[in-house]
């Protein structure tokens, strides 16, 4: 399998993209746009990890947005109730979410896939209820005010978003790198192979359960970290983090970008976040529109809208390429 990523064209493409992303905070003055970028980066992180388990690993579930919220709350509670420094809370958020992931993964990844789906539904419901009932820790429906980062002279505030932007960007790159390593590793190949034939996979010695659990746990851990970051960024977290529309939004990002593609969900995240902003006036219709987009995309563009655009470009390119070729035919 030729390594699609490390071709010259791709290195240049992604290098340029990275450069642009790094320079953006200097080019953009509008704090609101920076905020949207940060939210996009956070969600790109979430859906990358979601896609790792769902698209590559074949594990269907709705746990990722719940993991984001768990990371946020674990970090928030650690900071507010126990006075832990936000930087350490990032790690705590990651570990707390990792534990949650393991609690879900261990019993359900051994058995039929439907159980994972059901268990993650139950998790979503249970934790969102728990947040209300444990109000002494979580602030209940009033939410929790979370302190933000401090690092020497760097200003972390709602007027200076650049430092947050870079943390979010770094964290996304980390997730992408980890995902990449996992997918290219033997574990990743084994999981991808399992999509074709689970029966053959186990028959030639692949311990599916172990690999699924590893992947699921890693995805949970990375999502927990970015969830922790999010709570120290947004500084006020509440039960709306657990709303079902987050889950559907997340699906929208993955589906639009292309399930099981590597960068698709990242681009899907930016697309959905910015489009939602563009159509802020019809915010109340958002779940309906996103839902419809998801269903239509799945039916008509199952490899993602990005893939269809690429096909379109390729077609247009080939239309232009034909003409000069005719002249070149020699007798």
């Amino acid at each position: 399998m030729a390594d699609k990523m490390v071709t010259k064209a791709n290195v240049i493409k992604y290098g340029l993209l990275l450069l642009v992303m790094v320079l953006l905070p200097f080019l953009i003055e509008d704090n609101y746009i920076l905020h949207l970028l940060i939210v996009s980066l956070v969600w790109a992180n979430v859906v990358t990890n979601w896609n790792l388990t769902l698209g590559y690993g074949g594990m269907f579930h709705i746990a990722q947005p719940t993991f984001l919220a768990v990371g946020a709350y674990v970090a928030g509670i650690s900071a507010v109730q126990f006075g832990v420094s936000p930087w350490i809370c990032l790690a705590i958020g990651g570990v707390g979410t990792l534990i949650t992931g393991i609690i879900i993964g261990v019993p359900s990844l051994r058995v039929k896939g439907i159980y994972l789906i059901l268990l993650t539904f139950a998790l979503h419901f249970t934790i969102s209820e728990a947040v209300f009932h444990l109000k002494d820790y979580t602030g209940g429906s009033m939410g929790l005010t979370v302190p933000t980062f401090q690092l020497g002279p760097i200003e972390f505030s709602s007027v200076n978003l650049a430092p947050y932007y870079y943390i979010a960007l770094l964290s996304l790159i980390a997730s992408l790198v980890v995902a990449r390593i996992l997918i290219r590793s033997n574990i990743g190949k084994a999981l991808i192979a399992t999509r074709d034939s689970e029966v053959l996979a186990v028959s030639c010695g692949i311990n599916l359960y172990k690999f699924k659990l590893i992947t699921f746990s890693i995805a949970a851990f990375m999502t927990g970290i970015v969830g922790a970051f999010y709570s120290h960024y947004i500084m006020v977290i509440g039960p709306e983090l657990f709303s079902f529309s987050q889950i559907v939004n997340g699906f929208g990002m993955i589906v639009v970008g292309g399930i099981g593609t590597f960068m698709g969900p990242v681009l899907g995240s930016f697309a959905i976040t910015f489009l939602s902003e563009l159509f802020r006036d019809i915010e109340s219709f958002r779940p309906i529109i996103v839902g419809a987009i998801i269903i239509l995309t799945l039916i008509f563009a199952p490899k993602g809208i990005l893939h269809e655009l690429e096909k379109l470009f390729a077609k247009i390119k080939s239309l232009f390429a034909r003409k000069p070729k005719k002249e070149k035919v020699s007798p």
Partner: protein
């Protein structure tokens, strides 16, 4: 107990609801032999294989591989112990190249053999099954003959001691079948025990040291090909009552 027995089943049963797909099956396969299994459609042959490899766990009875109980082990562990199989309908990692298919088998299936140089091992097998040149072809794009060979190749990549083949000749032409059978013969001469399910009775009888006939999940008869082909019950199942000659002998001992 025969010390040469590599696989032993004792009263193995598997039910689906109230239907017994395999009922009270006992058998012994000796190391190094070719053990054929035949029977009408739906007689439970594939289910039997599935219980041995724990794709579908048996409901009762015991299964021993080299005297080690395997009826409670997971499929991947059973592979590591040295049992490999192929499937009636081609099961492959269709979206991946032939090479990757086999390397996965080599990497994950050879846990019991450390230090084997995997790439060389896989290339040898590739040549042996006749798939050289096709390393980079997507497994799903192979023709049926190629798919069947690849399945055998993947199984071999796990360096098994016993290879179970489920209808390896199904869907192949007479010439292709001959080639596969020759391959199997060669494997057996190299020391691999073979269990083979085959519909084509002529092929099965020719290659097997011993044969077992199943019907409705139960063993009807077991013995050398010669003994089995003379058994009246077997003839009745395959050809009908009127072919049961007067001088037949039962193969039950």
């Amino acid at each position: 107990m025969n010390p040469n027995v590599i696989l032993r089943l004792k009263n193995v049963s598997r039910y689906f609801g109230s239907l017994a797909a395999v009922k009270d099956m006992s058998l012994e396969v000796s190391s190094g032999e070719i053990f054929g299994i035949a029977g009408p459609n739906g007689s439970g042959k594939t289910t039997l294989i599935n219980t041995i490899t724990h794709i579908v766990p048996s409901n009762s009875g015991e299964i021993y591989f080299k005297e080690r109980p395997i009826h409670d082990l997971q499929t991947y562990t059973i592979c590591h112990l040295g049992i490999a199989r192929t499937f009636q309908n081609p099961e492959l990692f269709g979206s991946m190249p032939v090479m990757d298919n086999m390397m996965l088998g080599a990497i994950y299936g050879m846990k019991h053999e450390k230090g084997v140089e995997k790439l060389g091992h896989v290339r040898n097998i590739l040549q042996f099954v006749g798939l050289e040149g096709k390393e980079n072809a997507k497994a799903g794009s192979l023709v049926i003959g190629g798919k069947k060979r690849l399945m055998i190749a993947i199984a071999l990549a796990t360096k098994p001691q016993i290879l179970i083949l489920d209808e390896p000749c199904a869907g192949l032409t007479a010439i292709e079948s001959k080639e596969i059978i020759a391959l199997i013969g060669q494997l057996n001469r190299q020391g691999i025990t073979i269990m083979i399910i085959e519909h084509n009775m002529k092929v099965l009888m020719n290659i097997s040291n011993r044969v077992m006939i199943m019907d409705h999940g139960v063993k009807i008869c077991e013995g050398t090909p010669d003994e089995v082909s003379k058994d009246p019950q077997v003839i009745e199942i395959y050809l009908g009552k009127k072919y049961v000659k007067r001088e037949t002998s039962s193969c039950w001992k």
